[in-house]
Amino acid sequence: MTTTHSPSPVQQERIAYRRRQTIRSVLIAAASTAVVGLILMVAVTGSPGWDRVRASFLDWRVARQALPSVLGGLWLNVRLLVFCAAGALVLGLLIALLRTLRGPVFFPMRALSAGYTYTFRGLPLIIVLYVMALGVPGLRLAGTPSVLVLGAIAIVLTYSGYLAEVFRAGIESVHPSQVAAARSLGLTYRQTMRHVVLPQAVRRVAPPLLNDIVALQKDVGLISLAGPIDAIRAAQIEVGETFNFTPYIVAGALFVLLAAPLIAVTDWVTLRAARRRA
């Protein structure tokens, strides 16, 4: 015997009411978006300088002309991002581990790593870049790496300072009782960190870590002050030739596109972590 479930008339009325409410919300949202959009459009395009601004910021001919060289510059950003992110994550973790060592004998390590995070979080990246990329080659030491490598080192130095503090926050968020429990089970300090503390710590701080990587994505381009041509520098060169700012808009759009996947991953990781805790 099969009976198909049919909702009671009251329930059917409820469903119909909810559907009507949903449609109504969607319509209101659409209308309000249209009104806001229209006001913005009229305010911007109706402004006295709009023609002038459009000509110098949104010129498609200039955009098409600038795209290849800006893309070429962006390739440098992408390569730098991969190497600098890897370097900064490794160095940051190492410094965080040194800073969380316990026991009086490790005081020099703790002091050094604390000094490191204080220094490199305080120093503006541009100054580190100047010293590394325009100062160090001046020593004329044999085997000095290229300006590109020196600049990448400067970026890693600065960002590992931030990432170390994020890692340290994660490590310290794992309750000491877990370490005590692991040690009482016979795990060494190294094994405790590897199997008990770090897996939880890294998972907890994954969103802020990824957030720093998104920020890094934009900052790697600062290396251009030492000579290499990144996306923004390529755009700047085009701007200098035409006195038209459209290439900057092209570079900006490409940066947003480049950041989108990373930001989406960050959101997803955050959401997953929240669900697991729930």
Binding site: G49, L134, G227, P228, G240
Partner: protein, 299 residues
């Protein structure tokens, strides 16, 4: 002289005296038109038309002329990073233009404006910007240029110890790592004329580029010739390798940058033309850019 003449005739004394006084008066009045004496220049070449009179000029601040340049301003274009002292080639040219337009020294206001804000579409807070802007047709789409005040050449400088120090032609520069300041025609010269095999390095300022040159991070630096001679004077063991040929048939020229459609463009250009006609530009060039001796041509 007629004025000194005295009558020697008694009988018609009165008549003679009257005649003589009239004659003397006519002769002693300074002549409006110096008929026979040679003049310096045609009047209309060095003085500006009435619509360019100071009272007619629509400057940012009425009665004042606001001139902009970058900070820092480099020699030999400016001296001591003080554009208001009227020294250095561009400092002197700006002062001469202001004077030509009828502004006294106290009525000239200097403003420091970065390259980007000088060319941005918003309202300009200066009347004109003088900062080694090369006139190109592409740039003319975005700003007004005055008449040119200097014909410039680009040159390569290098350390004497570098492999390109004795380069004779572009072939010798093919494998060189060259550098230039961003947003300059110097950079365009590398990519369009020299076309080396390695990507050129680009710097925010010529100071950074100079440091890279001294470090050996780049083999050669492309700058305009006067800046090149200035740098060679500052860097030990550097030399001007040679000057680059012109990218196009017409000469590369520096002009003042004004807002697009500025009411001042025509009058400022006239002032520059007048300074050229009166040989003032030539004289200022001799005074401030004297060290720009001929450098060997690279081809």
């Amino acid at each position: 002289m007629l004025c000194a003449m005295v009558s020697r005739y008694r009988p018609t004394l009165l008549g003679t005296v009257t005649l003589l006084v009239v004659a003397a008066l006519t002769a002693c009045i300074p002549a409006d038109e110096p008929a026979g004496t040679p003049t310096v220049a045609p009047v209309n070449a060095t003085s500006l038309p009435p619509e360019c009179a100071k009272a007619q000029l629509q400057t940012k601040t009425p009665g004042k002329l606001t001139i902009a340049t970058d900070n820092p301003a480099y020699p030999p274009w400016f001296v001591d990073n003080k554009p208001e002292n009227g020294q250095g080639f561009e400092g002197a040219v700006a002062a001469a233009i202001a004077q030509k337009l009828g502004f006294a020294t106290g009525e000239v206001v200097w403003k420091r404006v970065t390259f980007n804000s000088a060319i941005a579409p918003g309202p300009k807070d200066f009347d004109f910007d003088i900062n080694q802007f090369s006139i190109t047709d592409a740039r003319r789409q975005a700003v007004d240029f005055s008449a040119p005040y200097y014909n410039v050449r680009q040159a390569v400088i290098a350390l004497k110890s570098n492999k390109i120090a004795n380069a004779r032609n572009f072939g010798d520069l093919k494998d060189a790592k060259l550098g230039a300041q961003v947003s300059t025609t110097s950079y365009q010269m590398i990519t369009t004329v020299v076309q080396p095999n390695t990507q050129p390095s680009v710097y925010n300022t010529n100071d950074d580029a100079k440091q890279a040159l001294q470090n050996g991070s780049i083999d050669g630096l492309v700058v305009d010739l006067p800046t090149g001679f200035q740098m060679v004077a500052e860097i030990k063991d550097a030399k001007v390798v040679g000057q680059l040929p012109l990218a196009v048939a017409q000469p590369e020229q520096f002009g003042l940058v004004l807002d697009k459609g500025s009411p001042l463009t025509a009058c400022v250009s006239r002032a520059i033309e007048a300074l050229r006609a009166s040989k003032t530009l030539e004289q200022l060039e001799r005074q401030w850019l004297a060290q720009v001796a001929g450098a060997p041509e690279l081809a």
